[in-house]
Structure formats: structure tokens, C-alpha cells
């Protein structure tokens, strides 16, 4: 018996079957933080599954004509000029998962560093152009359209336009600032960079797109929930509307529009607490899911 079919089935399940189900489910929007953990567990698990599958396919399983290299050899192809030398095959088998791991880690570092440099450049300019408001805990830029964003990181800034200060009520502005503050304190940029890294490596697969999109949406929901701790649903929802409406004329690409609508319906909708057993169950799921591919191969010793 061979572990490979089990691994392939598992990887397909995590990478192709689970994501569309998760996108359609409605519990993730009720517990966005838990859903984020599940999505990232899924991404990690899929990566592990792919790495182990590659390992098992390349590793000669006891006899010389097993594994991918053996197969190629028996088809008359000389791989690396050495035929199906088991040592070469073993080296390739170890190299494949290592390359994948390095690609993911490298991609994360690349995205995190690039974003950090972009933020630092932006922050220096914001500090020169804007006026620090101690009352708001934000930098105010002279700009008529109500807008807000944040620069997370070690030296964070929350930036609002003076249009927002003028046109939003104190309650609305408070909700917006609290939302941005949640991104900063929650270090959401690192979560985004992780999703971005996964997407770069598996960009051709739908699961990569799902992970990236859902991460962005769920992080917004986490920040919305944080803002609702101290501010009314109405303030947050109307602030969303005011800001979205003020910026429409540009409308070059409305990619995120649906996300704002989903968020607003969620904020305005009746508060639906998650089932009490949901969070522990999700936590358990999130911990076990990435480990399953390892369990499937190593301790059972399926060879």
C-alpha cells in the first residue's frame, strides 16, 4: 500500500473541495477571527499536502522503478543523466518540499518587506504634509473627500482627510478611527502578507484567490466588530456609506464594492452570536487540519 493516494485525496479535499464550501458557509461572517484561522490553517495544510505528495511521488519506495524518476526511467527517459539512481531520487524527493517551503517563506518575506518599504516612504510624506491631531490620534491631510486609511507597522499612522473630519459626525468619525486602530493593533498587515505569499506561490489555483480575498474581507470584519465595541452600528454603517458614496465618481475599478456591501449588511443585520460550541470546535479543527497530512503518512508508516 502507498500513502500517495491518501495524500493526493487529502490535498485535493483541502485545496479544491473545502474552499468553495467555506466561501458559501455563513458561520465565517459571524466569527471572522476564527474563520481567518481556519482559512490560514487550510492554506498551511494544502502547502504541506503538496509538499508531502511531491516527496512521496519522487521518493523511490523500496524498488528502483518506483516513484516519478523510476517511471520516467522506465519510459526511456534518463533523468539527470543518471537514470533512476535511488540516491538522486531521494535527493530530489527531499528537495521538492524544501523548495516549496523556501518559496513560501521567501514570498512572505518579499511581500512583508516590500509593503514595509512602501509604508515607510508613504509615512515620511504624510508626516510632512499632514497635521497631527492629538485629539483624533490621527494625521489629517487637506483633502475634501471624506476618506481614511492606516499605515500599520512599527511606527503606525492613521490618516484621515479633513473632508472626513468636516463631514462625518463625531460618532461616525470615532467608529472609523476605531476600525483603523483595530487594523494597527491587530497587526493585520502581517496576516495580509501571509495570504499574499500563499497567493503568489499557488496563483493559478482557485484556493489561492479564495485565501487572499477572504483574508482581506474577514480582516475588515474583525476591525468592524472592534469598532462596534464602542460605537453604534448606525454610526459605522452610515460612515461606510458616506465614504463610499463620496468617492464613486472615480469608479475606475469597483473590485471591493461587494465586500463593503457584505460588511454593511452584516453590521446592520441582527446580531447573531455564534453557537457556544463553535469556537472551541473551530480551534480544534484549525490545529488538527494542518497536521492531518503528516498523520496520514508518517506514523502509520504506509509504504
Amino acid at each position: 500500500m502507498n500513502a500517495t493516494p491518501v495524500l493526493v485525496a487529502y490535498t485535493a479535499l483541502v485545496g479544491f473541495v473545502a474552499p468553495p464550501l467555506l466561501v458559501r458557509a455563513d458561520w465565517p461572517h459571524r466569527t471572522p477571527a476564527a474563520a481567518l484561522v481556519v482559512w490560514h490553517a487550510l492554506a498551511l495544510s494544502f502547502s504541506l499536502g503538496v509538499a508531502l505528495t511531491a516527496y512521496h511521488l519522487a521518493m523511490p519506495a523500496g524498488h528502483p522503478h518506483a516513484g516519478v524518476l523510476g517511471l520516467l526511467h522506465s519510459c526511456g527517459l534518463a533523468v539527470l543523466g543518471s537514470g533512476a539512481d535511488p540516491r538522486t531520487a531521494a535527493r530530489v524527493a527531499v528537495a521538492l518540499p524544501a523548495v516549496l517551503g523556501l518559496a513560501l517563506a521567501g514570498s512572505f518575506a518579499f511581500h512583508a518587506v516590500r509593503a514595509r518599504l512602501a509604508r515607510a516612504r508613504h509615512r515620511r510624506a504624510v508626516d510632512l504634509v499632514g497635521r497631527r491631531s492629538a485629539r483624533l490620534g490621527a494625521v489629517v491631510l487637506p483633502y475634501d473627500v471624506p476618506a481614511a486609511y492606516c499605515l500599520p507597522g512599527r511606527s503606525p499612522r492613521i490618516v484621515v482627510s479633513d473632508g472626513a473630519v468636516r463631514e462625518l459626525t463625531a460618532e461616525q468619525l470615532g467608529a472609523v478611527l476605531e476600525h483603523e486602530q483595530a487594523h494597527v493593533t491587530g497587526r493585520h498587515h502581517l496576516v495580509l502578507a501571509a495570504a499574499e505569499a500563499f497567493h503568489s506561490v499557488f496563483r493559478l489555483l482557485p484556493v489561492a484567490r479564495h485565501v487572499r480575498e477572504q483574508t482581506a474581507l474577514l480582516l475588515e470584519m474583525v476591525a468592524d466588530d472592534r469598532a462596534l465595541h464602542g460605537h453604534s452600528r448606525e454610526a459605522l454603517a452610515t460612515a461606510m456609506y458616506e465614504m463610499a458614496a463620496a468617492r464613486t465618481p472615480r469608479g475606475a475599478f469597483g473590485a471591493g464594492g461587494r465586500a463593503v456591501l457584505i460588511r454593511m449588511r452584516r453590521v446592520l443585520g441582527p446580531p447573531r452570536a455564534p453557537h457556544r460550541a463553535l469556537s472551541p470546535a473551530l480551534a480544534a479543527l484549525a490545529v488538527t487540519v494542518p497536521l492531518l497530512p503528516l498523520l496520514a503518512t508518517c506514523p502509520l508508516g504506509l509504504t
Binding site: 512583508a112 516590500r114 452610515t238 458616506e242 473590485a255 463593503v260
Partner: protein, 122 residues
Amino acid sequence: MRRLGELEAEIMDRLWTWNRPATVREVVDDINLTRPVAYTTVMTVTNILYNKGWLLRGKQGRAWLYSPVRSREAYAAALMEDGLGASKDRPAALVHFVENMTEEEVAALRKALRAVGRQAKP
């Protein structure tokens, strides 16, 4: 010792507010109204701003006159566009409150607000 960025901001702030070319001496004198600062320090930092492309300069007699390359509002608009993701290649650098939307999408938002009886400006 204040940070370099703060002095840069003080210099730019004055040049934007005065809205006319000014010498380093004028800037130093104005800052000195609130706190002591050495002429050479301000001159160095002004030079940095010039080299970074924030200031223009021209000679009048023996003194250099400095003025901002663009207005504060022009810089702010460019930063906002950048911050709000008008540039297509937006990495995980900035997180903004709402995305750019189409008119239909904003109409849908308005409908969602109306559905729960909240008032929204048309």
C-alpha cells in the same frame, strides 16, 4: 534633540503657509520665536528637502530663496490617492476603510441602509 522629520515638517509648514519663496534665515527666525534652533541645522535640513525634491530654489542676490515644489493640497491629494489604493499594484501596505465602488454598488449600499430605516444622504 528633535527628530529630523520634525524639523523637516516645521520648515515645509512655514513655506506652505507663507506661500512665497523664503530664505533659510527667515525660517530660522520664525522657528526661533518658539524654540532655539541653529542656523546651520536648518540650512542642512533645508538642503536635504531640496535634494529630496520637496523644494525648489533660486538665487536672489547672495541668498538662496526656497519654495515648495507643489502645494500642500497637491501632495495631500497624491498621498490620498495612493493611500486609498488608486494605484493598481497595492501590496499589503495600506489598509483603507472602504474600497472604490461603482455607482450600482453605492446604490445597493443606500438600499441596505434604507431597508433598516436609517437615513442616508441621497
